[in-house]
């Protein structure tokens, strides 16, 4: 559907819109019901790395390799605000109430990686703040991904060296920093549960882990045979979807089947590998699950966004223990 490798796909809060960003500088918005494209947002001068919409689906934030964060009016595609940075922006996320936007910036050209927080004016025509309200500098290892915890209490960040940090969202003080993934392996994705009390991380060390936001304890671990680029949890059913595949630069040397370009479904509680969905012919870069748990979208290095709606077999699936419990 897109022209170049996808970097992130995301549903809005109601799940009717799907945003996709790719390395071709253009942001697309699609209707999740039928895959129809509603529009595109033009203005970025580099690969767009990340995207998020605010809870009321009025403002869209995007971060790109042209060292900017841009705010857009979702309805019309109008650019509202541009914030300039010295380095590329790799992750943006709105807080649960839409009052704040966090962003992580790259470590490059002598600049350290930072996590910044901007206050957001929910009025699309209103004035936006010029300066961030909080700036956290990552001295040891840059943050690749970051997310808000419940009630915007903490900011959780995943680092390039495989550690995960917990910051106080008010003061920016680092409360915890624990090594979670194999040392020196990049954390590629972090997605919060719907209630934002636990989250899943994916890493190049071929594992995905579910952690508690309060104490950063690993609760579940999913082991696969390929470097992972993305991990998502499905509401309604206790599954996780993992996506990955071989590095893009090695793809041409192997067959599609060996590349492991499949969405992997694991059971969230039992950690079992329960199935795969094929379709992409490149590694999966990003996965997003519909907030109602009825569909999921995946974006691949091959330039396609695939939107899958779940059918009855998916919702009917139960483990033996679940089935017996359901009967009683």
């Amino acid at each position: 559907m897109c022209e170049r490798a996808l970097t992130q796909v995301k549903f809005n809060k109601d799940g009717d819109l799907l945003f996709s960003v790719s390395k071709d500088h253009v942001i697309c918005v699609w209707f999740s019901q039928n895959g129809e494209r509603l529009g595109t947002y033009h203005g970025h001068q580099g690969a767009v790395w990340t995207i998020d919409s605010n809870p009321s689906t009025s403002i869209l934030a995007s971060g790109a390799a042209d060292n900017t964060i841009r705010l857009w009016e979702i309805k019309t595609g109008r650019l509202i605000k541009t914030w300039e940075f010295p380095t590329a922006v790799k992750r943006v996320e709105f807080s649960e109430d839409g009052e704040y936007l966090l962003a992580t910036t790259e470590q490059r050209m002598g600049h350290l990686g930072t996590i910044v927080v901007f206050p957001i004016n929910p009025d699309v025509n209103g004035e936006q703040a010029a300066e961030p309200s909080l700036r956290i500098t990552c001295t040891t290892s840059k943050a690749t991904v970051a997310a808000w915890s419940y009630l915007s209490k903490y900011i959780i960040a995943g680092h390039e060296d495989g550690t995960i940090s917990q910051y106080d969202a008010k003061t920016g003080e680092q409360l915890l920093n624990v090594p979670v993934h194999e040392r020196g392996t990049l954390i590629t994705d972090m997605q919060m549960s719907p209630d934002k009390t636990y989250f899943i991380t994916s890493s190049k060390d071929k594992t995905a882990k579910i952690l508690d936001v309060d104490n950063l304890k690993v609760m579940k671990q999913f082991v696969t045979d390929t470097p992972l680029n993305s991990a998502a949890m499905t509401p309604k059913k206790d599954f996780v979807i993992l996506g990955g595949g071989q590095e893009a630069r090695d793809v041409t040397t192997t067959a599609a089947r060996q590349g492991k370009f499949e969405a992997r479904f694991h059971h969230k509680i039992f950690e079992d590998d329960i199935g795969r969905v094929r379709g992409h012919f490149g590694p999966l870069n990003t996965i997003a699950v519909h907030p109602a748990g009825t569909a999921y979208a995946s974006g691949g290095e091959d330039g396609y966004v695939r939107l899958h709606h779940f059918d009855k077999a998916y919702f009917d699936f139960m483990y033996e223990v679940e089935r017996t419990r359901a009967q009683h």
């Binding site: 039928n34 309805k75 595609g77 590998d273 329960i274 899958h308 779940f310």
Partner: protein, 280 residues
Amino acid sequence: MASTRREWAEDDEFDDPNALPANEIISNPDGTKTMITYRLADNGKKIKTTRKIKISVVKERVNPRVAERREWPKFGREKGHPPGPDLTTTTIGENIVFKPNPQWRQKEKDEEATGSVKAQLKDKKVSCRICQGDHFTARCPFKDTLAPVGEAPPDDSRPGSPDLAAAPGGSYVPPHLRNKGKDAGAGSSFSSGRERDDLATLRVTNLSEFAEEQDLRDMFERFGRVTRVFLAKDRETGRAKGFAFVSYQDRMDAQRACEKMDGFGYGHLILKVEFAKRSQ
């Protein structure tokens, strides 16, 4: 034309041969509607399309915000495009059956195990039973002169055949190997008969495709007793392919027939007759 006065009989309909009748919509008593539309095809023909439509109302409750967003006009690159998915950007993927199953991996492993037998055989080297070379025994250049390694050279002139015929019951023995060894010396009626046949068989070519087997038999019976006439026919059309074989009981008769019939005009063509070459 427009200024000239029209006759009352010249109705509009007849005026223009390309005029299309008006579209019709008929409401049927069972609640369906029949739509009849007319259009002109590329070759100038009128095409009448009759469609029967049943309208059923499906009520769906949606979030008002979602419903409002559905009405949003398109923007950016999609600006001005009509509602509905655009085929240039959106394609419907194939239906993927996804059945969660914790044992799926085990199943796949079983399948892989059966597949590995094939892989094992793939790696196995082909070796000739006669000369140990890396080709099949049947392709061995020495197969007519040498016996397979580790076997006594058979008395029979054809190596390999007796042991095949002597294979334990149950395994398939091709027809040409059956009864081998039992009456090889006694002269199997089949093979020796075949030899005799070849000696007195003529090949007739340049036949017309309307040639008949009976005509050929009549022509060639003048020279002696004909045991067999075979006219090659096309399997689909049933017509002659242009060649035939005629077998005589006596080789001398065949010799005479060959001399007389070569160059004989049959139908509109000149026949060519020669002794059939022995089949390999």
